[in-house]
Amino acid sequence: MRSEIVIIGGGIVGVTLAYELAKRGEQVTVLEKKYIGSGSTFRCGTGIRQQFTDEANIKVMKRSVELWKKYSEELGFPFKQTGYLFLLYDDEEVKEFKKNIKLQNRLGVPTRLITPEEAKEIVPVLDTSEVIAASWNPTDGKADPFFATTAFAREAEKLGAEILEYTEAKDIIVEEGEIKGVKTNKGMIETGIIVNAANAWAKLINAMAKIPIKIPIEPYKHQGVITQPLKEGQINPMVISLKYNDAYLTQTEHGGIIGGVGVEYGPTYDLTPTYEFIREVSKAFIKIIPVLGELLILRTWAGFYAKTPDSNPAIGRIEEIDEFYIAAGFSGHGFMMAPAVAEMLADLITKGRTDLPVEWYDPYRFERGELRETALQMG
Amino acid sequence: MSEIPHYLREGFITLEELKKAIELPSEERLRKRPVAIPECPQEIPCTPCKEICPTNAVLMENPNATPIVDYEKCIGCSLCVQICPGLAFFMIHYVGDKARVTMPHELLPVPKVGEEVILLNRVGEEVGRGKVITVVPRGKSKGDTPIITVEMPIELAWDVRAVKVVRE
């Protein structure tokens, strides 16, 4: 078979990109070695935030939120702007966040510093006894990774995209610097354009194409947890505590409390959930909301943060191979960024340019030793 | 489908099926003294009847074989009735125009000697009345199962396998 563009990786980035490309009239095929979303997307923490600390990420996330809103309405999946609430415990933290808020405000993100009392109004079950302030942006939000991904995939297919599940890229055929096709477990697909959207497995795809530059993306195990369902609406925003092990938590559509902490292992492809995590996440949850101690933990699971040295993804074209693109290494932000990344990359592929600050994510920056300011890696 | 024996479709064994499974004792033998009758036509891994028999009257080639009683060796001691986990052993003794059937009884109340009880056949139908003539209570039974001997008309001997105790 033949396809103009082949996207390797059927996670949120792969399917939103397929959707954007299909909308632009491109003929595109997505290869997914298991089922869509199975890699990291369905394992993510569901949060979508604009509270970053650098201009590029704030701009990209602002656009992403606009797109999340637009597409959730158009395609009919749940996305809610329930806000992100960063709990702050000392003056140092407050000072840092004030600086961030200023930047965010300048770029049109309405974050503000609020009092512990105001925080408790937003989430009444919070223990604010140690909290001195909170950074609150009501326009941040969350979406259901499962319904979002399947909605984008279905819509992409309607527009003519092919999504091949249980189809694994085994090799990439490059002749004289030109892409000829992808070998899969189900046969050969001829193509001239490949997008590496394999995130945690991106380095394997890069190796298949023998790209001549170093793009350090390594898989790190991160875990998530969910509790028994509670009546909806009790913990609406994503609540974050950097003090308590970078914990994040929120309530899902189904009523369970979902979240995680910064317990990280890697680089590794092992996804065994750990005892350490389940204890650390319980500790953090109870510190933030003591009554969560009574809640039953139903499940934990693990997924990958595909990390780069500066926690910013590598997005762009690899010049030496005609035509090879990469959008990987999201370091835990793939889900939230996906719609903006898809738009940015679709424009890049079809028009050769984009209005979004793609240069920030330049895949050559590692080779050149020009790391970015480390992105705030957080749920 | 036709290979399924009737007793596995219905959950009880007919006299004809029983006769195919074991040879029944002669009338002469039935009159001599009580004799053990196993109603155990299916191969299951079970051997207590063979192990407990004081005269090695219960024959079993291997632990899964069905028990065959050597009626000449059987002394009518009732230990097999007491121990059998499947409650599948009975004893029959013809005395005059009556038959005495010994059977396990793991229900409450346990009848008393001399008490009149309702006789039940293999499908629980009431087929007559009989008189309890001996009771081995649970405490004295080698298998923790009370056993009772009930006297009844001789023609019911091969039908009755349980009793119902009715008290006002």
Binding site: P229, S282, K283, G293, E294, L298 | -
Partner: protein, 97 residues
């Protein structure tokens, strides 16, 4: 003869046989997708009651053998535990003042 709307397969999330079969008829035959779409096996019983029934419905409707359907992963904890117990909280009656 049977009203499949009234046959509960997953008690925790109240999923009926009708809903499962309708989804399979739509072409969703991956147990992982069925699980996520209907939230089967994601309740407090952790799939103990429903998953075997889902596997057999799926096998029957797709003509697959049950051993071709991969059992979804078993995650820790294998039975629900209060978060407070996991941190080694002291024995207490919980939230009573």
């Amino acid at each position: 003869m049977r009203n499949k709307k009234n046959i509960i397969i997953c008690r925790c999330n109240e999923v009926t046989q009708e809903e499962i079969e309708a989804l399979i008829d739509q072409g969703v035959t991956d147990i992982e997708m069925i699980k996520r779409l209907l939230r089967i096996g994601m309740g407090p019983c952790q799939g103990r009651t429903c998953l075997p029934m889902v596997i057999s419905i799926l096998a029957r409707k797709t003509g697959r053998r049950p051993n071709e359907i991969k059992l979804p992963a078993t995650r820790i904890p294998v039975r629900p535990v209060p978060a407070g117990v996991l941190v080694g909280e002291m024995e207490s009656d919980g939230n009573e003042e």
